[in-house]
Amino acid sequence: MSDPGNAAVASESDASTLDEAEAGEPEQDDGAEPNADDADAAEGAGDAVEGTSDATEGAGEADEGAGEAAERASETPTDRERRREVATDRWLGIAGAALALVGLGVLVRQPSLVLSGAVGVGYAVYARAGDAPTPTLSVTRSVSDEAPAPGDEVRVTVRAENVGETALPDLRLVDGVPPGLAVVDGPARVATALRPGTAVTFEYTVRAARGDHEWEPLTAITRDAAGARERETTLDAPTAIACTPELSAGGDLPLRGLTTVHHGRVPTDVGGSGVEFHATREYRRGDPLKRIDWNRRARTGELSTVELREERAATVVLLVDARESAYVAADPDAETAVEASVAAAGQAFSALLDGGDRVGVAALSPLDCWLPPGSGTVHAARGRETLATDPALAPTPSGERFYRSLWLRRFRRRLPADAQVLFFTPLVDDTAATLARRIDAHGHLVTVLSPDPTTTETAGRRLTTFERRQRLRTLRSAGIRALEWGDDSFPVAVAAATRRWSR
C-alpha cells in the first residue's frame, strides 16, 4: 500500500526542534494570512470575469511566504497508507438543475435563463473534473515533555509539509491522539490547503496520565477543489510519551494488619524477636535486658526471658486485575478500575517495602506481567516502572484474549510457596472471585481489595451492583478477606478494614 521510496520520519521531540517549529510558525500559515487569501481569491475572481484561464490555479495557491518553510523542512515523505477514495456526491443534481433552467429558458424563449443554466453546467463539469489527490506529506510531531508526571499538560506540535508535486486544495488533518490521553486544549485537527513546498503547523495540549502512550497514525483527508471526491490516508509518525507516577511514601498505609501478623495460613509458632508475646523461658546469658521478665523476677526472684513471636518478612505478590472486563468505571470518562487498582497497588508496594517485606507484582491480563518478589531500592524502582508502564497494565485494554486456566497455571508455578496475594480487582465478574478462591485453595493467603466501579442509576447497573456485593459476601463467607473502596480513599478503607479484622 505505501509508496516505495518513502522512508519513515522519526518524530522529533527534543527541545531545539520544538523551538524551531514554534519560531517558524508565523511564516507558514496562520493568523492574518487568511484575510489576505480572501482578498486574493476575490481578486482572482475579478480577473476571471475578464477571461483569465489560469485562475483556478491562482485560487489553489493563495499563500504567500510559505516558500521559506520549504527550505528548512526535510524532504522525506512520511510513510502513508491510502485507505479509500469515495465520491461525496456533494454536487449530485447540479446537472439536472442546470438542464431544467436551460430547458425552461428554451421553453419560454428567455436567453438570460439559458445563460444562467449554462453556469450550472460549468459547475457540473467542475464537479466531474477533479480527483482527490493522495497527499505526499512529511509529518513531524513534537511533544514538550516526553516523560511528564501524571496530570501534567503536554503541548503537542504537529507539522505537515507537502513534499509532493501536487497541490492539495483541501486537506484536513486529524491527529491520532493515544486512546489513553485526553486533549484538554484545542482540537487535534486542522483544515487547510497546501501548495507543494508549503507546510501547516497545529498544536494542542494533552493531559498526561499513567502509562506508555504511543501516537496512532495521523489521518489525512483530502478532497479535490470541488469537494466531489474524498480520500482518506493515514500517515505514520511515531511519537510516544511515558508517564511514570512516583510511588507514594506508603508509611501511612496500615498494611501490617493485612500481612505480617497473619503471616501464612498458620501463624508462626517460632519464638524469637518481634512484638507479640509468645512464651517465657529460662534466662540465658546474652539475652537482652529489655526482654527480661522483671515482673516475674520481682514475684519469684527467678530470672526469665520473654519470648516474642518471631516476625518474619512476608512475601507478598500484588495481583492487579487488568482483563478487558476490569476496564470499567462509574462514568465513561472517569478513571477505570484498573487505574484505581494500579494506584492502590503502588501505595501497597511502597508500604510493604518500607515494612521490610518482599513484594512482587503480577497482572491478571492476557499479556504476561511478572515482577518476582524482592526488596531494596533497585527493586522499588523496578516495581514503580512495572506498575506505570507494563503493557499488561496499560491504560486501555489490549484486545487480546484471556485464557484463565493457562494464566492460573503459570501464576501458580511462579508464586513462591509462602507468598500471600493482595488481589486488586473490581469484582465485576465471577472469574475474579473464582480465581481468588482457587489461589486461596492452593494455600496462599488471599486478600481481595476491590475498587467499586458500580453505580445505581439504571436497572442493569443496579443488578450488577447487587451481583458484585453478593460476590464480596460469598468471598468473605469462604474465609477470604475482602475490602472495597469507592468514594473514600484506599488508605481509609484499609484502616477501617484492619480495625475490623483485628477485633
Binding site: G96, G103, L107, V108, V177, A330, T455, T464, R473
Partner: protein, 183 residues
C-alpha cells in the same frame, strides 16, 4: 447508450456551428413546436436528474474523536442494552428474557436467603412461588402461576412496553428493598 451519446455529440456540434454561423441555423430552422418540445424535455429530465439527490447517501470519512480518552465501560451497561431489547411487547427475544430472568433470580435468591437467614433452597422456593416480596409485579415476574396486576398490564399496554419489562424492574426494586434492609 452508445448511439444516444453519438446523437448527443452530433447535436452539440451542429448546435455550436449553428450558433456561430447564422446560415446553418437558418438551414435547420426547427418549428416552434419542436423547440417547445425540446424545452419541455429539458425541464422534465432536469428535474428528474436533480431529484436523484434525494437518494444521496453521504459516505464521508468519519475521523472519530481521538481527542477523547477511550471511554470506559460502565458496569451493567451491557445488561441495560439487553433490558432495552426486551422492553417492547413484541414476542421474541426469548433467550434474552430467559437469561435476564435467571440472572435476576440468582440475585433475588441470595438476597432472600440472607434476609430470612434461611437456606438457598428455601429462598428459591419463596422466590418461585412469589412469597418473597410484597410487590405483586415482582412476585409475578418469577411465579408462572400468578398473573401481572391489571394496573401494570394496562400501563404496559398504553406505553407500548412489555409486561416482562415492568416485572423485571419491579423485581430489581424489590431486591433493592431487601438489600437496603439487611446490609
Amino acid at each position: 447508450m452508445r448511439p444516444l451519446a453519438v446523437v448527443g455529440v452530433l447535436a452539440v456540434a451542429v448546435g455550436l456551428l449553428a450558433a456561430l454561423d447564422r446560415g446553418i441555423a437558418a438551414a435547420i430552422s426547427p418549428t416552434s413546436a419542436v423547440v417547445t418540445l425540446i424545452g419541455v424535455l429539458g425541464v422534465v429530465q432536469g428535474v428528474r436528474y436533480a431529484n436523484a439527490r434525494r437518494d444521496r447517501r453521504r459516505l464521508l470519512t468519519d475521523p472519530g474523536e481521538p481527542e477523547r480518552r477511550a471511554p470506559a465501560a460502565v458496569p451493567g451497561s451491557d445488561l441495560d442494552e439487553q433490558i432495552a431489547r426486551v422492553a417492547s411487547p413484541s414476542p421474541g427475544g426469548y433467550r434474552d428474557r430467559r437469561d435476564l430472568r435467571d440472572r435476576v433470580r440468582e440475585v433475588a435468591v441470595d438476597a432472600v436467603a440472607r434476609d430470612r437467614n434461611c437456606s438457598r433452597e428455601a429462598a428459591a422456593a419463596a422466590v418461585d412461588d412469589g412469597t418473597w416480596t410484597e410487590a405483586p409485579a415482582a412476585a409475578a415476574f418469577f411465579d408462572t402461576q400468578s398473573a401481572y396486576p391489571l394496573r401494570l398490564r394496562l400501563s404496559a399496554g398504553i406505553r407500548g412496553r412489555s409486561n416482562y419489562w415492568y416485572g423485571l424492574r419491579a423485581a430489581i426494586d424489590a431486591i433493592e428493598r431487601i438489600e437496603g434492609g439487611s446490609s
